[in-house]
Subunit: 391 residues, 2 copies
């Protein structure tokens, strides 16, 4: 196990109707004048926004509104939010929505207190100061409700970058699983895939002797195997939604990733797909991850066999562990298919002729130096071959 | 799943040699003049105290020392610590030791800022203010390094009480597994038992639909099954010590207990044993928990069978799940015996004639109203019968 630090100071408030306490928590964490940042019309139509506003009013807190966050949140709205916060002397940013809304809120919270261009933080400048951020989460997937990360798309060239800093961790996050029960089935399945991927990116490690985190990851994967399909197929099932939502937080606050190297090449490869074809992130991951596994299986057959036995319930083939490893990957593919996820390029709308370009950007874009991945270091040729496995 | 809040704001610093950074973290979390609170001579002899002092000096931080914490920490030393902190204008308490030292430090930190008697907090008064607390942990077991709890023994009558409050959560905790490698084998085994018990007290619940926390508990138990015996039998094995130490924190910061009822009757019953016979807490638990299980198994055979299959690797007896449940309890007993734990009253030095008295105090002491336990509500007669199973 490697030396590590672990810090997850967010106050999590989980359960039915808890958004009605948003005002109480804003006050507890020092807010007096709030930016409510949200996405599309669903928060308005569902009455969620009204409940949050009423909660703030009940505590005598002033607020201003800024809606319109889109998936893959844009820099333009961040600049607008920063201006609005300064003009209105906002001292607290409350995100009401999913990962995109939270990420946009984090960018605004950091930008308000910074004299320069907020984009500096997305080009490597450390974020050391930000307005406090709270969240009311409406989708289980991204994990931004408990993470120190934010990803924004720069509209001047349409490229994505990330910023990081402990001050970007929400001071509180309200997770009401019932809010996720009205999502389209496909979106729930994409969330389930994203959660599993966050766990698997941490599972594939080169660090030895990491039994505790291995078992935590396996345990969360097992719980998602049971609860994910129920959440997808039974929108009326609050308990399934609740288990998936809490697993989504735990999958990405790094409690499962401490003390070990991680991979993240599948995420890098997926970002190329969603950038080019505008597919959902989870759908892209469903196509990428099994291909990545098949390509890299032989780097550590024992680890792939362990996953297959412990999570997928495969029989260990002691004479030929490769068979067990393969059976596990196949079980993962079948699972993704069963919850309605795509399994190949065609179903994503992706094209073979773009493979070269995507492989190049994956390995050289975002300031990378020709390779991606911590478990398996992949170059442009490797990445191309993995994309080909998805055809 | 029940509604819940989860808050674990401690900054954990894990790994070899990290105690050398104690000064840096005290400074980061606002300390300038420090009480270093520690236990016996081992911290002195091993050089640990010198390393911590050097680290504070390196940051230009002043400090005063207070040693002498004993297992089951006493109120007398807490009063002394409070006086010392006031006289010396201390603004940060650094615990160097195990659970007892940390609990004593928490009591001092709360008492310094309170005009009344610190004991008020141990009689139900909420702790809302305390000096910041840091820890350098030297034993894997208690979990106080990540918890909001403190237990102190009042010397005026020799009874134990607990205080609770989020301000009692350490602002940072340094966990260097190497510090636990010099402990006597028996003490390591007691720690392993205590960790497993913290997990099992949470596992036995009446709340339905708690797959995520079930799987987390099972995962941590599985990791302790592998790493615990290695830590006991191979003191030179840093990796085993590291896995046990991190499991110990996770077992008690309540990440495994959110959204579900818990039990804790075994802890209550054990406290009577250690109060009367001065046995180690872990050793007492090793005797109590299997007996508690046998007595209460029929309240939820499915849950006991699930534990047996998922953690102890028992075959499910579909015709008679009771057999599976029993096999799991027997496997647990064998495991405890294999790491050198006692399995009955005689080995603890406990006496049959005290059973009535212990059962009475367990159910009526500490302000209780005749029953203990959240999974199985036990009265004095139940508790007596469970003690009898340990003969």
């Amino acid at each position: 196990m490697n030396n590590f630090t672990f810090y997850s100071p967010t106050y999590f408030v989980f359960g039915r109707d808890e958004e009605k306490n948003a005002g109480k928590y804003v006050r507890r964490f020092g807010g007096s004048r709030v930016l409510i940042h949200y996405g599309g019309n669903s928060a308005v139509r569902s009455g969620l926004l009204d409940r949050v506003k009423a909660s703030l009013e009940g505590e005598g807190l002033g607020y201003v509104l800024l809606g319109g966050v889109k998936p893959n949140p844009r820099s333009g709205l961040v600049y607008e939010g920063i201006e609005l916060c300064r003009r209105e002397k906002v001292d607290f940013v409350l995100a009401v929505g999913g990962g995109s809304t939270i990420d946009s809120s984090k960018a605004i919270a950091a930008g308000v207190l910074y004299d320069g261009d907020f984009w500096d933080f997305y080009q490597g400048k450390a974020v050391t100061e930000a307005l406090p951020i709270g969240t009311v989460l409406t989708i289980a997937a991204a994990g931004s409700e408990g993470s120190p990360d934010s990803v924004i798309t720069n509209e001047n060239g349409m490229y994505k970058r990330g910023a990081h800093g402990d001050v970007l961790r929400p001071v509180f996050s309200i997770l009401n699983p019932a809010l996720t029960q009205t999502l389209p089935r496909y979106q729930v399945a994409c969330g389930v895939t994203d959660i599993m991927s966050h766990l698997l990116e941490r599972y594939f490690t080169t660090t030895e002797e990491v039994e505790v985190t291995d078992r935590l990851i396996e345990g969360l994967l097992l719980s998602v195997l049971r609860e994910g399909p129920r959440a997808v197929n039974e929108p009326e099932n609050y308990e399934a939604a609740a288990n998936v939502m809490w697993a989504g937080m735990l999958a990405h606050n790094n409690s499962c990733g401490v003390g070990r190297t991680q991979d993240w090449a599948s995420h890098d490869m997926e970002h190329e797909l969603s950038a080019l074809y505008d597919c959902a992130h989870g759908a892209g991951l469903a196509v990428v991850f099994p291909a990545w596994m098949r390509y890299n299986m032989n780097r550590d057959i024992k680890r792939f066999a362990q996953l297959a036995v412990r999570v997928w319930g495969c029989q260990m083939d002691f004479a030929c562990p490769e068979n067990t490893a393969k059976a596990g990957i196949e079980a993962f593919r079948r699972f993704l298919k069963s919850i309605g996820m795509p399994t190949n390029f065609a179903q994503l709308g992706a094209k073979e002729e773009d493979i070269g370009k995507m492989a190049h950007t994956a390995c050289w874009g975002n300031g990378r130096k020709g390779t991606i991945g911590g478990f398996a270091e992949l170059n442009e040729k490797d990445v191309s071959e993995i994309y080909r496995l998805m055809l």
